[in-house]
């Protein structure tokens, strides 16, 4: 792959053609916060946390989908960007109900970690206090809408990796909800194979294993890259 050179935060950095700005930054130890993005899943660009400033562009661009190009001048951490990221995480915290002290995901939560790293100690916006239902109808797993950040990792992994396409989104705007099998209780879903992929990839306490109590839910994501790598090799005719 042809090499290209770009500037990130005043440093000249070389990258390979086709890489996203996020990949390049990570390779060089620059940490850009992300939430909806996950290596191996199709990019969606929804959380907007990974926005970076690009010289010549009037608005920040999402680094998880923007391809690096020769001569780009990128800033990943201006005051404005940091403030925007804080506001975005605060919006997420205000949108549903995030009472960490009674959450299965407490201390292992990507949203919580993001908030801590950004130094968020209060939320400037009104809590929307939506009272959403919980779906515990599946035997092994449960879904608590109150913790969902609509990152759609569950939708994407179930469709593209597991091939079941159990999850979809119903409604729009702030009334969007994750639904199983065109809006049935998850327990009655006939497409779900109980593989647990969505549960493991969910960044928050929205999808969890039954039986986990406060702070007990641990998630394991490395399986995704293992599966995808094996598939890639198999497709190339190598030994899986």
């Amino acid at each position: 792959m042809p090499a290209i050179t770009l500037t990130i935060n005043n440093d000249l950095i070389s990258a390979r053609q086709g890489q996203t700005l996020l990949e390049v930054a990570r390779e060089h130890g620059i940490e850009i916060p992300t939430l909806c993005h996950l290596d191996g899943l199709e990019a969606m660009g929804g959380c907007r946390l990974c926005l970076v400033e690009l010289q010549g562009s009037s608005r920040p661009v999402p680094s998880c989908v923007t391809r690096a190009a020769e001569g780009m001048v990128v800033t990943t951490h201006s005051d404005k960007l940091v403030e925007y990221r804080k506001m975005l995480v605060e919006l997420l915290l205000a949108e549903r109900t995030h009472t960490c002290s009674i959450c299965v995901q407490n201390n292992n939560c990507e949203l919580q970690t993001l908030a801590a790293k950004l130094g968020i100690d209060h939320v400037r916006f009104d809590y929307l206090n939506q009272q959403l239902p919980m779906d515990a109808s599946r035997e092994r797993f449960a879904l608590d809408h109150n913790r969902c950040v609509l990152c759609l990792r569950c939708v994407r992994v179930c469709d593209a990796v597991e091939g079941a396409h159990t999850w979809d989104v119903r409604g729009r705007g702030s009334t969007s909800r994750i639904v199983a099998d065109l809006d049935r209780p998850w327990g009655t879903s006939t497409s779900c194979t109980d593989c647990g992929k969505c549960v493991q990839l969910c960044p928050t306490g929205a999808l969890f294993k039954k039986g986990a109590t406060v702070g007990e839910m641990r998630k394991e994501r490395s399986f995704l890259n293992r599966i995808l790598e094996r598939r890639r090799l198999a497709a190339q005719g190598g030994t899986p």
Binding site: A43, M44, G45, G46, C47, R48, L51, R59, P60, P62, V65, E83, Y84, M87, L88, L91, L92, A94, E95, R124, F125, D126, L128, V149, L150, D168, V169, G171, R172, G173, S174, T175, S176
Partner: protein
């Protein structure tokens, strides 16, 4: 049909029309139908039937004639005579006009509009040239007015690159809101490699208060088809789709009939006008989501997916419908194309101001005397639209602001009334040209309340994909509500500004990116009004009722209550 037959047909129909001693054009646009034009048509038809359908008296049910709030409209054409237009026409009035003609007596002048009425005088009608002049369901009447002649000219005299060049020369820019140069877009799609290409006409029109696109589709459907066919030839596409909003069944039905008629006449379908070019058009009906007007969401919707925008690039010009290069333009943009080829790109380019060429159709509404559909040259001063064409404010109210661009636009204050209306000038004022909604507001409007109205629209229409728009709009709405109900503090005002800027900068698609515009523009021009709400807990326009206390006052009140209880020794 070939080109010669087309010209012959146009001539024959024109001759027949000129042989009529009187042609009665009754407006059957949706607003006029609502005002009762069907009854007018029925009464005239009955009278003509009683007369034995004389060949020299013609009754035509047309599309929108313009001044919709004065409907039903009746236009009378007689050879060699100036045309006359009656407003609020009743069946009795219509019949009496017909009788007067038969008896050669003077026409009744009740409800007769003045001959040089500024509403008509100040307009330049290119896109709407046929609206209100022809029966939209009659292909021959469209042909008689030069219809499909542009297509014939293009197919027989030009190579596709020349067609694109002509559109570039005309200076036409997209009328769907963004204002991207149409010719450049055509060239891009033309150059994109792909064995199949598609044309899409965007007739989704979701802005509240706007109905230009509906009216165009209902009043002159063939014009859009012709524009699309020319585009198809220019970029090398054989298939087009018109995406019509679900709430517009009449538009969809007229377009369907127009497609059928044009195909039968050999003006669409295979071997158009006996050339080697084939072009088919199908209709797709939307479900009435504002966001489905956004191009990537619209394409997803056509392909049967959830109507949600996606990240661009790739732009539809490279990868649109089913991954093929796709040209997407607004229906009014396509409506301009036949005009470019009938008057020539240079003549088209001669109209307008700066980088905005040609005309723009606006749905003029709000507190003006004349509500309706107008087409004006770009660069016309806003004042002329409001006070000449619009006839000033109703009930003699003072002008306060004009809102353009709907939920993505902004408000223009009275001191900017002389601004030329074009893409650049409106943008400089923090508004946008948008698709053409123009709402005039008088002193009785509260600008905070107006901003809140549009924010409510946006939060409801957000697709929910990205955080700033999904949740940011809700929080902006709440902050505005607090300002309106008197419970906001200066701090809330600050938060509001920060949040608006953030949502504008970070949203994924144009809906979220433009959603804060009504707030930002009213903050810019009417900041004092916001301040009065917050500091004095008073709505200068008298619209908002201040029925909540701000948090800090609530606290004070509580402390006072507690202190009072202590003093007189009472307890709970």
């Amino acid at each position: 049909m070939n080109r010669v037959e087309l010209a012959e047909l146009a001539e024959a129909v024109t001759a027949q029309q000129q042989s009529c001693r009187m042609r009665l054009l009754v407006c059957c646009g949706t607003p006029c139908v609502a005002a009762g034009s069907q009854a007018v048509v029925a009464a005239l038809r009955e009278r003509l039937a009683a007369l034995g359908h004389p060949a020299d008296l013609e009754l035509v049910g047309t599309g929108c004639q313009g001044p919709c709030s004065r409907g039903p409209l009746l236009t009378v054409l007689r050879p060699g005579q100036p045309e006359q237009v009656w407003q609020k026409c009743t069946p009795e009035l219509a019949v009496s006009i017909l009788e007067a003609e038969l008896q050669q007596s003077a026409f009744p002048d009740t409800n007769l509009l003045p001959a040089d009425w500024p509403f008509f005088r100040c307009q330049t009608r290119l896109v709407l040239a046929n609206s209100g002049r022809i029966d939209p369901e009659n292909l021959e009447q469209y042909i008689a007015r030069g219809g499909y002649d542009g297509l014939a000219q293009v197919l027989h005299e030009m190579i596709p690159d020349q067609v694109c060049d002509s559109v570039v020369q005309s200076g036409l820019r997209g009328r769907g809101g963004g204002g991207y140069p149409t010719g450049l877009k055509w060239q891009l799609v033309r150059k994109s490699s792909g064995s199949r290409k598609f044309i899409v006409a965007n007739g989704d029109e979701g802005d509240p208060g706007a109905y230009m696109d509906r009216s165009l589709m209902e009043s002159d459907p063939h014009r859009i088809l012709e524009g699309m066919a020319i585009a198809g030839y220019a970029i090398g596409a054989e298939q087009g789709y018109i995406y019509v909003r679900g709430e517009y069944p009449v538009a969809a039905q007229r377009l369907r009939k127009a497609i059928r008629d044009a195909e039968r006449a050999g003006l669409l379908g295979s071997r158009v006008l006996d050339s080697s070019f084939s072009f088919r058009i199908d209709i797709r009906i939307g479900a009435g989501a504002f966001v489905c007007g956004e191009e990537t969401a619209l394409l997803a919707s056509i392909m049967g997916r959830r109507g949600q925008p996606r990240i661009r690039p790739p732009y539809p010009a490279e990868a649109g419908l089913w991954g093929c290069p796709t040209l997407i333009n607004n229906v009014e943009t396509f409506g301009n194309i036949p005009a470019i080829f009938s008057i020539g790109p240079q003549a088209f380019n001669a109209i307008g101001n700066g980088k905005s060429r040609g005309t723009k159709v606006f749905a003029l509404c709000g507190e003006v005397v004349n509500n309706g559909l107008i087409e004006v040259p770009m660069g016309i001063p806003l004042r002329e639209i409001v006070f000449e064409i619009g006839g000033g404010l109703a009930n003699g109210a003072a002008f306060k602001a004009a809102q353009t661009g709907g939920p993505s636009g902004g408000c223009i204050p009275a001191e900017k009334l002389d601004t030329p209306v074009d893409y650049e000038n409106l943008q400089a004022l923090g508004s946008i040209m948008g698709s053409g909604g123009l709402i005039v507001m008088g002193e009785q409007s509260c600008m905070v309340d107006v901003a809140r109205f549009f924010m409510e629209f946006c939060l409801d229409e957000s697709c929910g994909k990205c955080v700033p728009c999904r949740t940011g709009t809700v929080e902006i709405y709440r902050l505005l509500s607090r300002i309106c109900n008197g419970s906001a503090s200066q701090r809330d005002l600050q938060t509001l500004e920060q949040l608006c800027q953030m949502v504008k900068d970070t949203s994924l698609c144009g809906l979220g990116a433009a959603a804060p515009n009504p707030v930002l523009s009213t903050l810019r021009w009417f900041r004092a009004e916001y301040e009065t709400h917050v500091n004095e807990r008073r709505c200068p326009a008298g619209v908002c009722s201040m029925d909540e206390l701000p948090l800090h006052l609530l606290g004070e009140q509580l402390l006072q209550r507690i202190a009072a209880l202590r003093c007189d020794g009472e307890g709970y």
